[in-house]
């Protein structure tokens, strides 16, 4: 079993558009949208939801007025400035640490579990999709990312699929760390800009930190061909090879507006041909060593 995770460091480089294109190309794979904060893959894959599950992300403190004697101990204990002078817990600022709950002398603080989002098992025209929706302003995105990847892996094992294609989140923080751990290969989509280069270096540092192999894909390379060259050189110094370059082409947006992947859109033959070649190179880059393959064990 292999899992390819598509990430970018910087947002908006074309991760999801390209992930959807690869989903259209990959026969016999399970798809996973691990960008649970601003999930977009469903806009192109248009899933039919088969199962919906609740994601319980943790608890938050609620002071019960009838039991509270206004001593204010909780407010002094809270490191997140979540308790107001009127002794009301701000549900957005509350970190869910439970310190006030345990140490309230009157046991006046409840700690109800929070519904932080939902996750789904779905069918798409290319294959099964596991995806999620984190609630607005919620925490624990890393846990939800972990959960959808685990479910995708379980599904892949059950259905005897050999590949998982995962659309990752931007950045280098908790959801990204949860999205790349144990992956077979990272495909890093970068744009040829100074910001893109800066962010790429940080995300490659992260990949090296967690020892996950990576490949580079340069999108919109012709917006600055010299920068694309420099980025490719900088990546290859870290043994991260480039699997291809895609020019800026409004056809990607036009296909997106139609809710289509580039492989379903008429008049995009050149881009389709390039992406086929790139996909062959991505598959060739997958580690052969069975030790680098995924197993459910890594989640237990």
């Amino acid at each position: 079993m292999h899992e390819i995770v598509i990430i970018s460091g910087k947002g908006g480089t074309g991760k999801t558009t390209l992930t959807a294109a690869f989903c259209a190309l990959a026969a016999d794979a399970v798809f996973c949208d691990a960008d649970v904060d601003a999930a977009d893959l469903h806009l192109l894959l248009q899933p039919t939801i088969k199962e919906q599950h609740e994601f319980i992300g943790g608890s938050k403190a609620v002071i019960v007025a009838e039991r509270c004697n206004q001593c204010g101990v909780c407010r002094g204990l809270c490191r997140f400035a979540a308790i107001s002078a009127e002794l009301v817990v701000d549900q957005i600022l509350c970190e869910g640490c439970g310190v006030c709950v345990d140490l309230c002398p009157e046991k006046a603080i409840d700690f109800p579990e929070q519904l932080c989002g939902h996750w789904f098992h779905s069918n798409t025209r290319f294959g099964p999709l596991v995806h999620a929706r984190l609630g607005i302003a919620e925490e624990n995105s890393g846990r939800l990312v972990h959960l959808v990847r685990k479910e995708a892996l379980q599904l892949a094992e059950e259905e005897n699929k050999k590949l998982i294609i995962t659309d990752g989140p931007p950045g280098i923080g908790c959801p990204v760390i949860a999205a790349i751990g144990g992956a077979s290969l990272l495909l890093v989509v970068v744009e040829p800009t100074l910001s893109g280069r800066h962010d790429l270096e940080r995300v490659l540092d992260l990949a090296a930190h967690f020892k996950v192999p990576a490949r580079l894909l340069i999108n919109k390379y012709d917006l600055n061909a010299d920068m694309a060259q420099a980025i490719e050189a900088a990546a290859s110094e870290r043994d991260v090879l480039c699997v291809g370059r895609i020019p800026f082409d409004p056809v990607f947006t036009r296909a997106m507006v139609q809710g289509q992947t580039i492989f379903e859109y008429a008049g995009a033959e050149e881009r389709q041909q390039e992406l086929r070649t790139i996909w062959t190179r991505v598959l060739a880059a997958l580690p052969k060593d069975s030790e680098q393959c995924l197993t459910l064990k890594m989640y237990t």
Partner: protein
């Protein structure tokens, strides 16, 4: 005036708007790069950095000679960051949220507080414009405490312009909460609109006035304009797709410095933001 530039979707042009707005306002403003996972504002601003400080958060340290292995520390920790097995105390630093609970409940004083590096905050300036930038340590998972540290250092006498991270989860809330106005930057594509709707939900939750900047305004569809009208969100600025702008961006060159007319455009944007903020304040008072 505290102002936050945010967006649901990444790569829509937050940093472009934040940097150009800050440069147009010059010494009246302070730019805070709170996209601490991938900070980019310095690339365009090229500021003189005068100071860089390491930012830490608290984690527990155990003195085994005082520990009775009672396990109360593990019991209070909701993040599985500390466990007691037989005659061992295991501390998983990266999972610790620095709530201090374990140290508080330890009956023998075996736990004290040490630190874990979250990242660093740099201070600088460019022609009178002040600049603060947070940069998260590679491998660190928690952005919000670092974002709060960047914001804590802001100069309250200046117009604060915050460049937020993408998304709608906790790091974005840490960057947006308590500001006077939020500018959401989007692009008129299905992805842009979908993520904009999420961002608007977050802004409404915080009850902060909000306007839109539509970038690459002529790609995609006009659905975002209909949405803006429906939701009563003012479109403060539309920037058409222009290869020249994209090339300048790729080279890290700010619009207000490279192309004529943009300084005035961004000063006007600030006036419109200010007006929106005042109107909201009056509505709240009424």
């Amino acid at each position: 005036m505290k102002l936050c530039i945010a967006s649901g979707k990444g790569g829509t042009g937050k940093t472009t708007i934040a940097v150009n707005l800050a440069l147009a306002l010059g010494e009246r403003a302070e730019l805070l790069d709170c996209d601490v996972e991938e900070p980019n504002a310095h690339i365009f601003l090229r500021p003189e950095i005068t100071d860089t400080k390491e930012i830490d958060t608290q984690i527990p340290l155990v003195d085994l000679s005082l520990c009775t292995f009672c396990g109360q520390c593990a019991q209070i920790c909701r993040f599985s960051a500390i466990t007691v097995v037989a005659k061992k105390v295991l501390i998983f630093q990266d999972l610790c949220h620095s709530c201090g609970g374990c140290t508080l409940v330890c009956p023998t004083g075996a736990l004290s507080e040490g630190k874990r590096q979250l990242g660093e905050v740099s201070t600088g300036h460019k022609n009178g414009l002040s600049f603060l930038s947070g940069r998260m340590r590679i491998g660190e998972t928690m952005a919000p405490p670092l974002i709060r540290q960047v914001r804590a250092q802001a100069d309250s006498r200046k117009i604060t312009i915050i460049d937020a991270p993408p998304g709608t989860s906790c790091p974005v809330i840490a960057a947006m909460s308590g500001v006077d106005c939020i500018v959401l930057v989007t692009e008129p594509t299905p992805f842009g609109l979908h993520d904009l709707k999420l961002a608007v939900e977050a802004v409404r939750l915080l009850d902060i006035p909000c306007g839109l900047v539509i970038n690459r305004a002529d790609i995609g569809t006009d659905e975002v304009y209909r949405y803006a009208q429906q939701e009563n969100l003012p479109v403060l600025l539309s920037i058409p797709f222009d290869r020249r702008i994209a090339e300048l961006y790729s080279e890290g060159k700010p619009l207000v410095e490279a192309l004529p007319g943009w300084r005035e455009t961004f000063l006007q944007l600030y006036e419109d933001i200010d007006q929106l903020t005042q109107a909201h304040k009056e509505k709240v008072h009424a």
